[in-house]
Symmetry: C2
Amino acid sequence: MPLKRSWVEGANDAGCPFPLNNLPCGVFSTPDGARRCGIAIGNRILDVTALEKTGLISLDGGPLLDQPRWNSVMAAGPAVWNALRLQLTKLLQEGAARHRAVEVHLVPLAGAQLHLPFQVVEYTDFYAGRHHAFNVGTMFRGAENALPPNWLHIPIGYNGRASSVVVSGTDVRRPWGQLKGPDDVVPRFAPSQRFDIELEMGAVVGLPSKSGQPVTVAEADAMIFGYVLLNDWSARDIQAWEYQPLGPFQSKATATTISPWIVMKAALEPFRISTPVREVPLLPHLAEPGPLLYDIDLDVGLTPEDAAETILSRTNYREMYYSAAQQLAHHTTAGCPMNTGDLLGSGTISGPLKESRGSLLELSWGGKEPLTLENGETRSFLHDNDIVTLRGVAKGDCYIIGFGDCTGRILPALADPYSRQG
Amino acid sequence: MPLKRSWVEGANDAGCPFPLNNLPCGVFSTPDGARRCGIAIGNRILDVTALEKTGLISLDGGPLLDQPRWNSVMAAGPAVWNALRLQLTKLLQEGAARHRAVEVHLVPLAGAQLHLPFQVVEYTDFYAGRHHAFNVGTMFRGAENALPPNWLHIPIGYNGRASSVVVSGTDVRRPWGQLKGPDDVVPRFAPSQRFDIELEMGAVVGLPSKSGQPVTVAEADAMIFGYVLLNDWSARDIQAWEYQPLGPFQSKATATTISPWIVMKAALEPFRISTPVREVPLLPHLAEPGPLLYDIDLDVGLTPEDAAETILSRTNYREMYYSAAQQLAHHTTAGCPMNTGDLLGSGTISGPLKESRGSLLELSWGGKEPLTLENGETRSFLHDNDIVTLRGVAKGDCYIIGFGDCTGRILPALADPYSRQG
């Protein structure tokens, strides 16, 4: 797949994450204006809300972009998604006739504030990375019992809190929680000391399912609008005390950060790749009709206060054992209705190597092997004021596809969470 | 608390669940009209959407009833909730001056269709009944290890699926799922054979929390708008195979049925009662400032096809170890934002006696002791075409408060869930 050349500044530059091939969907505001829908192109954002209003683009069933979220477009389905990409490509490609009319709707990426690109209706997080599940299982149960018996048969998942999903750049405050260490006689209520990251991808559901009707893996894939980067912040000490028998709850409820841009599935088509070889056969309803993962390079950077960034991990989305389409199909098996705006976290994406692990829990092996940063400090878990940045890049022959940074800074815990002063 | 007498037919009758003291909130439609908000009174529904439109009631920040859901009223807070009850009481009490003007907005309960009374934004289910947790724990781990170590310290909960919450009267289709019995070598995909009920109450969140800010138990109580009956349908065979390590997922995703009427907290005030004596002290942030449970008699009836109903169980909401306010406070400890329309299931409400257990799992002791119904049939779990009905009644000196039946019929599983014929 060659680079599609655009007349927009920066779009054809080597290393630009937003060439004409990408066209990712976001919501932005400028100091002088309201929130609106935008598409990243080169070093600009194209105000597609304005473009639809002026009639430069027109979508079946529209207006669909007259609100600061992509949900209406997501709900409209693949024909509208493709029509949008086609119309935008015509307007933005080199030599486009209406270049001048479009140009006035470009704003610099640098000065814009980015918001949640869609209304997250419900949020589900999975546990579908083979290496992550093995690492965590080994720490807790030993290598021989690392994988739960069901793990190779179903993509294990749990429901999270949509209300805690925030956009990249939002500060994340260290949570309080009930904790009980191995030496504590009784639990105590205190700030989490083992606050962690989880490097994930998120699949954004566009088309809803028919209520009560399970969907096939192929149907699930067709329902997905696009993908985001996702950091599922996790308080490991809260998790250890609370998670038996019904799973993680407050340990995962502080925040989940997503990238500001949803990369539409169409932009990722050239990077489709198969899941790894099955270790045991899957039941037919979870079998894949074709390659459903994507070859996306991922990394995690940690920037301590007043210091340079250290790259903690480099991995790839192809390391997942289950694809988002398989997860979505599993999600409907008992008749659960899935809706436009549902967000599915992949689960932590760890590779086979130590330096490709997607959480500090794994990187520091439960705190037993602290990491050394570029500035000489060490980390087992996050410190206050640390900034964590996830990045993702799909690499074509002559272009790349990016998601924008998925970043968050850790604020110190509240001194007294129940103080109502000020 | 005496009966408040009303001029509406049936409202003063002994045994009427909807006297003037109650005023529960629902959404209804008649064959000739759209969905609108209503209040049950006697054997009538008062069309409060029409009442607000004509100016007979007026709420700060209104119109709040111009949509077929109570969310705007719920979000408006206690001052508006109280103003609404006060205005309705004046209009509906015996001797009310504007009797004739109001009368035209009453429709018979019998002919109305009832819909979900509010938009369920997110749904959380707890595991906060002492007897239920002990019974289930004993079956799975033996009596000595029945309660997990955290159980007496935090109200254990997990996030469910808001999309699967339905109103009483909605049919519930037996789900398919991945199952692996003790004698199966590999899992299989089949209809659930151990489909069950859970008798619960649901708390409906009115006021949102401040993002990132934990709330006290007293603040949590003030955020709650009202209560519903709740049946958390559960596929025990799917649950057994999937729930380790991250909790129930598809086993709880088929449907959760709630009563058609939300009983506002104010109507339940006379029935406040304390939680049971603490077996170990709670940490201060979960301690109760006063009585936070309610004395509400509950029962479960099962009606087989073409047969009379058998009452399976009789219990009381006061059996819970944790109140909804404690659960909501715990839900915010890590900073999780709570919103208008969040629904919190209490957990299964089992009493200490065999005949007061709130699930078939407990009543039939995992299928080992099938129940005998009035018609001579036996049940370990639900059969196709069984109708399950939950009922709840708070008993005052001279009146009762009801929620309306919370009912659902089991439809047979789809023959082939992936067939797309017809």
